[in-house]
Amino acid sequence: MGRYVIRRLLQMIPVFFGATLLIFLMVNVMGDPIAGLCGQIQCDPATTAQLRAQYGLDKPLWQQYLTYMGDLFRGDFGTAFNGQPVTELMAAAFPVTIRLTLVAICFEIVIGITLGVLTGLWRGRPIDTGVLLLTLVVISVPTFVTGLLLQLLLGVEWGIIKPAVSPGAPLDELIVPGLVLASVSLAYVTRLTRTSIAENARSDYVRTARAKGLPRRRVVTRHLLRNSLIPVVTFIGADIGALMGGAIVTERIFNIHGVGYQLYQGIVRQNTQTVVGFVTVLVLVFLLINLLVDLLYAVLDPRIRYA
């Protein structure tokens, strides 16, 4: 197990360098960021040169990348165009997005798995058909439609929530945005759990457990669910990273100042420092969560062991 973890951690290093280099190149291909800084007016050449030197843009690209990586290991993510250190932007944005993601994950786990178990156990019954239809609708409707619709109905028409989340983004205001963010994944979790449960419900070990006279509740939670959750955990794990990066639509609709917002600003303003910094952290999050998911297999199914 220990060796496996170390091997996985070492594998992360080339992935990390490759990913940051790619992002760095992509942002640079987009063109000269200084051109947009002066608005409709052309920055005079002297100021342009000064700004270029200030942000290190006057150096060749490989040198920029090396300097950037060097600074990165000293914990310096550079400075955004508004004069703020990128680490400061991260300190403001990541807690908000993590909270939003956790809310979404909670919805996925609680609602998704519950519905999945129910439909899996009562296959073909009206509740199964109903939930299947519902998930189909949720999957096929784009997130921004769901988001705007809920915002309009709950926020403006019925006045249950505030249409925009306040700057601090407290948990209670994140419930609806979290639900919107979770919606599509939630539907997949439901369907995944349902299939898995339905498959395992006919397996030998469930029949044995039932034959032993165990109570139905225990059979379902301890025997059936435990084995059926492996694909679901994989999906949810992979989804954490996707949700953090993909929160851009939800964050925009509900005015949540998280990672999506900072990335959007960074891209629109061609701010290399912001984009590369945030994506680097997201890449790390992806890698770590993937590792965590793989380790969780062993907890769920003792038969899976890593040498």
Partner: protein, 546 residues
Amino acid sequence: MRGSTHALKAMGGALAAVLSATALTGCGGGVSTGGSGPDGIVSSSWGDPQNPLEPANTNEVQGGKVLDMLFRGLKRYDPRTGAAQDMLAERIDTTDSITFHITVKDGWSFSNGEKVTARSFVDAWNYGAYLKNAQKNAYFFGYIDGYDQVHPAEGDPTATTLSGLTVTGDRTFTVRLSQKFSTWPDTLGYAAFAPLPRTFYDDHAGWLAKPVGNGPYSVDSYVRGSQMSLRRWDGYPGPDKPLNGGVDLRVYIDNNTAYTDLVAGNLDLVDDVPASQLRNVKQDLGDRYINTPAGIIQTLAFPYYDKRWNTPNGYKLRTGLSMAINRPSITSRIFRNTRTPAKDWTSPVLGVDGGFKDTLCGDSCVYDPARARKLVQEGGGIPGGTMKISYNADTGSHKEWVDAVCNSINNALRSDRACVGNPLGTFADFRNQVTQSKMSGPFRAGWQMDYPLIQNFLQPLYYTGASSNDGKWSNRTFDGLVDRANAESDTATAVRTFQQAEEVVRDQMAAIPLWYQNGSAGYAPRISNVALNPFSVPVYNEIKVA
């Protein structure tokens, strides 16, 4: 089996701990929409300023909005008429339009108690002009003598202060310009000319985190990127004291959300109604919707560095294209009358005395397909038979109107391929191609005035080598007239001479004027006396809370 349940439970516990921990850190920025009467707080939508909030470094509306509340300069533009009026200036005297003697009024101070003196101005201007400080508005100081030394076009500066600025007393200083510029004092209302307190230089980072100025409001708290709370500063000596207790500026990622928040009653003021909501605005807000002209004009510029667009008969081609554009139809259908068809190259906010002339463009700006076809043909036709109008697709609703303009041109010229839109990904990318002179056809050019002077609508855009002359248009007659106008000591004569210069722009159709842009805003029933100034920024200090 037991052990693993524990593991799962522990995970759940950790999850809960993280949730509550992050919830705690987020409790700082609660929103207060409170108070009524003269102490009531107005909440208003805001966009994240692109640059640090230094006066000489702020060149877009969002940052300018704050500076307008935090600072008062020597002059201020009347929020209704746009006329430059004395604010901190007791007097500005000149005999030759080159050397100006300025006296600062007594009794003004910054909100931290420091007195506003002649030094406060001179130091701030020197800071703004000095190349090493990389201030984006440095060129505003370009008329002052010695600018070439502190801000050379190439290489390192040879001086740190402008030789044209001399402090002559506690409240007096003189400014020597490098050329005659009679209306120069009227440019002093621009934010770049604001005075700065000592703390700006001594504790720069601290000042940026919580700016200190001499205006009617002071910063109460500022969470960068999300909210700035400004409160009325009771020690403010100026005549325009706030009629409310303060303003909370809230950053919205999308102005659609701001509008929704306004309709839901969580926000008092939206100063940019999104185009997609214009359909509902009457029904949602009734007469709490403002739509007034601002000092912004949209034009189509041409790449004169491209030989195909710079032919002797090219003016006929360009005039023909101008006549092929059905302005009233586009402004009413696409912009729902938040734009006004252009009739000259300035803006109605200047007023007739200021140089706005609604007959200047005349027939050349009126839709006339038959004459358009004739003129385009006489002008040699569209180079290559197809022209692409370049624009940035990331902000605004540029795609819609560019497509409409092309449609109009195609219809008028009876050709499906005369005109087509050419979207570019981001504003930075667009500006990049513009500044590198890479345009192969017409491109969108918007101009928002820096100060309400006819000079500002002509010189930066059409003077040879000027800062925003992106098409690299050059005309000796025009340049001569601008020089003459600037040297004129009588304002009325100067304006008339500028109009003659503008006629050259018209005859050559240097750029096709499209429409003047209006400022649009909406507000909640609990506030009143809301207006937009000529820069389309709300006049915050005059807003009353019911």
